[in-house]
Symmetry: C3
Subunit: 140 residues, 3 copies
Amino acid sequence: MAMIIQNSFTVKTSGRGTTEITSRIEELVRKSGLRTGMCHVFLQHTSASLVLCENADPAVRSDLETFLGRLARDGDPIFRHDTEGDDDMPAHIRSILTGSSLNLPISNGDLALGTWQGVYLYEHRTSPHERTILITVFGE
Amino acid sequence: MAMIIQNSFTVKTSGRGTTEITSRIEELVRKSGLRTGMCHVFLQHTSASLVLCENADPAVRSDLETFLGRLARDGDPIFRHDTEGDDDMPAHIRSILTGSSLNLPISNGDLALGTWQGVYLYEHRTSPHERTILITVFGE
Amino acid sequence: MAMIIQNSFTVKTSGRGTTEITSRIEELVRKSGLRTGMCHVFLQHTSASLVLCENADPAVRSDLETFLGRLARDGDPIFRHDTEGDDDMPAHIRSILTGSSLNLPISNGDLALGTWQGVYLYEHRTSPHERTILITVFGE
């Protein structure tokens, strides 16, 4: 096991919703020259998340949004934490339920994703944010 | 850190529900000869998932199914994506909420699971599917 | 990639709720002497979990508790598994939804967490428990 390499990049989100980042991660994996290994994708925030989601029909991501919006409703009076608005606490809950890091295998020098798997940054705040993603690849 | 080894296997599911895969993973870990390390289990699909679940009482898995069936209801009219049926979108949601990869520590040449932890492939589609699981073990 | 080191520690919980464990993990990372790598945090239990959560306002964690308590309600008659009480099955569900392991990057000899990210052990049973956490750090 020869190498471990870290990189980071930022994504400017335009408010609540998903941004595909698969190709940005693939680019770093290919640059690393690793043939077999792991790629860890880590989001340094608590009100956005990283998800593996179906990448063919955009309705999947909009249905996911509809579902989460109903599950953790903005302005739900059960929430006390609303420092940054009524989407603040729902954003933390969505982040915890969907997760802020992903581990992706590297095979034959590339991400070993399934045909329909895309990697998405999921912004849970309603306003635009800049999000930092730290990538750690290791292997041989 | 001497080694990284990848393997894959497939599981034929019989429709919605869990299939224990702990022993199949343990077998690959033992074959690797690694004493201390990590075992990454990755599912290359977006409508099934991998969960660590209580392994003693089968009612735990059936209660989990009852819960998820109520949380993301098949045929819920809020969903637009139903290309493959009314269980299609709920399957994607269940997959994202429960996760499609697991990282398991290896200690003393074996998976370091707790007494009551089993690894399960969770099929979320109602019809049978063949699912591919990619295992990456690394360590020394 | 020179090293892989495992350690474990236990946390005595006082029943349902979160206990911050960030500094205990940081201490092990610093002791390891690794500069760049990964820190895997693994909980060997199925009725507690590990979460990355906002670390500034305690209301975030209490709102999260309120939310989960409503989502998977103790004593909900849909649950059959109640061997250890009416919080037993909800605890398994909360554990699966929020996850029992975390992968944290190590940069410059320390955990590369975002400013507002804390690592919490989340006890989902209402009574106190002793929970074992296995830490695997690797890198160079």
